[in-house]
Symmetry: C2
Subunit: 345 residues, 2 copies
DNA sequence: CACCTCATTGCAATCGATTACAGCTGGGTT
DNA sequence: AACCCAGCTGTAATCGATTGCAATGAGGTG
């Protein structure tokens, strides 16, 4: 395996390894005749550079590492796709790791990426505080950009959306649809995204005079199951409010399902909103009103920041950037059109 | 970045690099006192091996590469998750690549994995024939296992499910539900999976005397959109059969949606089945009857084959294994319970 | 006391590609 | 004719970890 080395190509072409390297990496001057001989030999032998050896010598791998909390969450997979696309344009490749929402696994992955000499790391941290040591240490060694979520109290580049602004749009829309009370279903506050989204939710609710009962703020995790369970609890403990605002689409999908299963039509009896605009939010019954994140743009900015960090010397690296993009509300069928009151109200 | 080398640890501990290496990789004999000194020094400096350098020397990277047609297809992401899990137990890591369903990108990814000296490759080829050269060449250099799909006429290890047996179960179930005619919606026959599934479909349909009109076999790609479009075409060109058998869940999700949108209740007027049992098949309305693939088992077998291939010398590698697991039918609400005739029949 | 054994430890080569530096060659200058 | 220069090519050092071989020294034996 991987038998053909530059030395063999050199021998076959009757030149030195230096010359072969110069031809194959297009650096330095080589006469046309020799170049032809070398290329010929390389093709004949099926030569392929050994990226490992090159990386050791250059301490550059043209590879970027990415760590996400869960590869089965469609939001992250589409983010990964966008990142890979953006990197492709720069001739870089992506090394993807799944942290399984566990800061310890996450720390191992980060360490392993550092050991692999990736040129930079893009991470969406699993935990708002427990991810800190690993992320911080990693950022001291390599260019690192946090994506979507971020760790409390770290100073690294970050790209994401303005959750507060998004929630403002959501609440305004629900209010127009007649909602005067609302529940919030999110993950534990250990993710910055839930924290931000909840903050935006609460602030605008107050401003619009939408009632939020403290026992109707339910925190679990980003999953369909949790959405279902949370709604079951709401129903058991005093009934549903006019609207249920969910911190992501998976939760919203589960919540919608549970509402309907318990005989509360959506959006007839209760409006439901999601967040992320994953593909299935469009397919759900009813199609989900949600917040669309500009994934390609987020990815592009992240890649740009990494590239910039890679070029400048570590010591003179400037202040870190926090890039916050504005997401857009996608109105579908799980909320009511303007002004319609709740059924039977 | 990555500043601490074995030499620095050696200096700090007052020993040679050889000794440090022996301590840190637990090989060879080292006195307890020296071992302590070395570990102490390594910890103090925050030493981490440079995997690149080690890989160059050992020509082993403890990394397995995986190439899938599309990372946004939930079936593949859950397969990836299973593979990563299985590899974790062996102390290996996964390098994941997305081929975007393009054999050319796929070829590039494979080449890059070879160049990166991965220990083995797991690939679900994008195309039944065009993927051949790249897969074949790669398999000559490295242990390689094809997963789920395979390339026509290649001799490598393969792990997947028995599509024909699965389709047999599907057809039997539909037949019991009263179906006497059926359509098939799949991807182009360029994927072995569609090919196999269609073969199983057709064979059992014949045996059960279920009518399959040639113009009701529609081939596009694995996507929700195609499922919707295909059903629209069926309706436009002569109406729906008793059952629609789809080559994967995404198609089935789209098909179901389109049926309902055009006023054909599922399973009332038409039964629909999927394949893969992705998470959203359970959440769809109605929940999808589908074929569950034993993903963990598939992944475990693939990893086992790779490990075995890695141990034996390439030359004396035995015959290649084709491991075919039996999937199970998951009956949900998009098909009819035993014996019920179509509505209005 | 001479000699042997065996556990430790160090030296230096090695993996494969890159590149600073030096050497060579042929043509152009004065 | 002596000298320069530019363009090409080769030699050898380098990246960091591993490991065969040799050296060292402590302890044991006769």
């Amino acid at each position: 395996m991987q038998r053909v080395t530059i030395a063999q190509v050199a021998e076959r072409a009757g030149v030195s390894t230096a010359t072969v390297s110069r031809v194959l990496s297009r650096r330095g001057q080589v006469s046309a005749a020799v170049e032809r001989k070398v290329r010929r030999a390389a093709d004949d032998l099926g030569y392929q550079v050994n990226v490992i050896a090159r990386a050791l010598r250059n301490s550059r791998t043209d590879t970027v590492g990415m760590v996400v909390p869960s590869i089965t969450n469609p939001f992250f997979t589409s983010l990964v796709e966008s990142v890979e696309h953006a990197l492709g344009k720069e001739g870089k490749e992506l090394f993807l790791c799944d942290a399984r929402s566990d800061p310890r696994i996450e720390a191992r992955r980060l360490a392993s990426l550092v050991a692999r000499n990736v040129d930079g790391i893009i991470v969406s941290p699993s935990h708002g505080t427990e991810s800190r040591p690993a992320v911080q240490q990693t950022a001291e060694r390599l260019p690192l950009v946090q994506l979507d979520r971020f760790v409390d109290g770290t100073t690294t580049d970050w790209v994401g959306v303005d959750d507060v602004a998004a929630m403002r749009q959501v609440m305004d829309h629900l209010h127009e649809g007649g909602a005067r009370s609302a529940a919030f279903i999110g993950s534990l506050m250990t993710h910055s995204s839930t924290e931000q989204r909840f903050a935006g939710f609460r602030r605008r609710a107050e401003e619009l005079d939408i009632e939020v009962r403290p026992d109707q703020v339910l925190l679990g995790d980003y999953s369909v199951e949790w959405g279902e369970a949370a709604v079951a609890r709401l129903i058991a403990e005093g009934g549903l409010p006019d609207a249920i605002v969910c911190a992501d689409d998976l939760i919203a999908l589960g919540a919608t399902r549970a509402c309907r299963a318990h005989g509360f039509p959506v959006p007839g009896k209760v409006q439901v909103t999601g967040y992320d605009d994953i593909e299935f939010s469009r397919l759900a019954e009813p199609a989900l009103t949600t917040v669309h994140q500009p994934r390609d743009r987020i990815a592009a900015e992240a890649v740009r920041l990494l590239a910039a960090a890679g070029r400048t010397n570590e010591a003179e690296r400037g202040p870190h950037a926090h890039i916050s993009l504005v997401p857009t509300l996608v109105v579908r069928d799980s909320t009511r059109a303007t002004g319609a009151p709740p059924e039977g109200a």
